[in-house]
Symmetry: C2
Subunit: 436 residues, 2 copies
């Protein structure tokens, strides 16, 4: 099938990430979408700047309208940000009958009603998954995955910079000012950090989430926004003593008399899952009347994660370009003709770390025998925990954590350990995963 | 627009929940789907049994083929479970050219390849979101939301009964057998609990997740399944001492030589978010090359949560029934003509609990003045934390947690408290949400 040609406006962090993801995973993406997707034309400010992506095969121009008007291109990806030129370009692309994908939260929150009305008139799609919470597919989850629900409320950690600052203040007792300077040095926070730390960025995202949750127009101007600049490490410590964490949340809640839309630092019980979302990570907790509480967690920013969301939107648009059944979402995500014949490994071939519990005679040399058996099979020990000899017992429990190894080797080791005369009964074996 | 007519096979827990969700949220769902969705025909075992849903307006029959062959119906929802009659009915519905939605994990894991091949031949859709992790839209997230990624691995708590048992064993030091009996009494576990505690149910779900993550056929027979029956509370305590939690995970991992598919109890570092998913809740952690780590959390079973997933699939199918642009997923989840004119509340109208930090003279009566001000405004105090007077200070920090109240009342209270002569400087105010 013919490839779909994409034009990108802006090849910075997100644009570069999108090109990289499309190139690196070209095969996987074509297997899902049913046809290849290629970036053929891109607009940049400076033709000679060093970029994070390979631009070979992409025609570069400094005139974004050249991309918007390219008749070969059916999808325009807007990644330049801001609400002036971006708005004009998106509206121009729609007027040309092109579909649009954007990561621009300010544009959607402030001008989305105008953009969507134009898109509906021209019967084109505007995808904006990347505008909220980076790589987390939160727009799709709420808009489609929870379509059967009356959404009651949602609460999100939707600004990674603020979450990073609050996490550092808590973990290390540092001041807001001190951590902000570090975040700027690390590139998490802009030189003008007010969008992040004054809650404006979170308010943009909350505007979008509330619209799709409740079916209301985008109303950025009605959002109450308060940032984290006045939080002290003292408050964080007091909250902790009372069993709470302070998180910067965007909250949208349906009440009997209207919708609450507010962004502010919030104490939440520390046992809640979302209270344990730390550093630059994002998470959105959604309460639906049927589904109950659901939570969506992941990276809220960054080149590849945001590129992941942009590409998901591109694939959705590509599927909608033609309406024949072959182009619906395939049952198994990939086209049935493109299923892979990858071997499934036997358990002996799988690799994991292990927790072993043995009961050993409490005398010197036993542990040395055990570690020799493991060492001969190339199994490294990560930790040993030897318990006290209990009253009236002759054997003590010994716990070993090992590094990763093939299960076949571990089976051999366990058989050899169980054959040692100083070991009583079978070795209890549990697998251990760091999930990193 | 004409309503879409649905036939349901089975009106038990999930079938009843589906009917309840469709009825309760009929308006919200029609606003999203662009037309009303009605259940008109249902097959049950016993016509007179008491049900959890209202069946008025639904023609009941004991012959499921009557529903499958009803020419008015375009979508058959299979909720009877099992792999014999359910398989025959699903294949018969497909042969009639009907779309199918099912919550049947065993059917999809064991016969999905056959079912999907039949569906592709007849150009109909088979939705199975409800087959994995109940209300969590995990199929949609992986299949569409992460379409740009090469999925590296996923690990899920996908059997709520096992997670409930392990959580109770950890929290209360109870034995496996003891907690299992309670779970059976509470209705979490079946009388024959082997599907849950031997890992078979989780293996069904892992089969499905692995297929859509890696683009491989469903291969249930290749999954290694180990349950939680041999876990002791001693192992849970030892793991805890080493910084780990024991969770029953389904793990699918891509390696250089093939795919690992395994279900077993697993130690995971207790600081990981998924290690803190407790009780009957489910969560799936997915690692994509572009998006990094994402986690999806929610109720893995139950009438309404599973009904939520069934309805999401129904809405997807309804949108695909006609291919005109008006029926694509609307930008704001709801049809633009159906956006609601709900009022957005001012911050004074919003309601939340509060954390107040004041600095008060360390003498009797000051706290009484503060609590009187709060009480007169109808604000209840949840907790008070009074700190020690620091060396050389005249005022002590006092922390108050209040119950929920309108912000306007709290603004009044704070103004009055700040006017007290014994209070120094402004009152620090943070909002507190229990997110329950």
């Amino acid at each position: 099938m013919n490839s779909i040609k994409i034009g990108i406006l802006g090849l910075g962090t997100v644009g570069g990430g999108t090109v990289n993801v499309l190139a690196r995973n070209a095969d996987e993406i074509a297997r899902r979408a049913g046809r290849p997707i290629r970036v053929t034309h891109a607009a940049v400010c400076n033709l000679t700047r060093k970029r994070i992506c390979d631009t070979s095969g992409i025609l570069l121009t400094t005139d974004p309208y050249e991309v918007v008007n390219d008749p070969e291109i059916s999808i325009i990806v807007e990644l330049i940000g801001g609400t002036t030129l971006a708005r004009e370009l998106v509206l121009a692309a729609i007027r040309c009958g092109k579909h649009v994908v954007t990561a621009n939260k300010a544009l959607i929150a402030r001008h989305g009603n105008e953009v969507f009305a134009a898109a509906e008139e021209k019967k084109v799609i505007v995808g904006f998954e990347a505008a909220v919470a980076g790589g987390i597919p939160i727009i799709k989850a709420i808009r489609e995955g929870l379509a059967g629900n009356r959404i009651e409320w949602l609460a999100g950690i939707i600004n990674g910079t603020s979450n990073f600052i609050l996490t550092e203040m808590r973990d290390k007792g540092r001041s807001f000012r001190d951590v902000l300077e570090e975040a700027q040095a690390l590139g998490y926070a802009e030189t003008d950090p007010s969008f992040d730390v004054e809650g404006i960025d979170a308010a943009h995202k909350l505007t979008i989430l509330a619209a799709i949750a409740f079916g209301i127009p985008l109303q950025y101007e009605r959002v109450y926004a308060e940032g984290i600049t006045r939080i002290t490490s003292q408050d964080i410590a007091f909250a902790e003593q009372l069993g709470y964490r302070i998180k910067h949340l965007g909250i949208a809640r349906r009440t009997a008399v209207g919708i609450e839309l507010r962004v502010h630092p919030t104490l939440i019980p520390m046992r809640r899952l979302i209270a344990n979302v730390d550093g630059v990570m994002n998470a959105v907790l959604v309460k639906g009347d049927a589904v109950g509480h659901t939570l969506y967690y992941g990276a809220g920013a960054g080149s590849d994660p945001t590129g992941s969301a942009v590409v998901a939107d591109i694939v959705d648009v590509v599927r909608a370009l033609t309406a024949d059944p072959e182009n619906r979402v395939p049952h198994l995500a990939f086209q049935s003709s493109a299923l892979a014949d990858l071997p499934i490994l036997s358990m002996g071939q799988t690799e994991t770390a292990y927790y072993l519990r043995l009961h050993a005679e409490d005398r010197p040399g036993v542990l040395a025998d055990v570690t020799r058996i493991l060492g001969n099979l190339g199994i490294s020990i990560e930790a040993v925990l030897q318990k006290e000899l209990a009253e009236g017992e002759t054997h003590v429990p010994v716990i070993l954590l090992t590094q990763r190894v093939q299960e076949a080797a571990m089976n051999q080791a366990i058989a050899a350990i169980e054959a040692l005369p100083a070991i009583r009964g079978p070795v209890a074996r549990l697998r251990l995963e760091t999930l990193s």
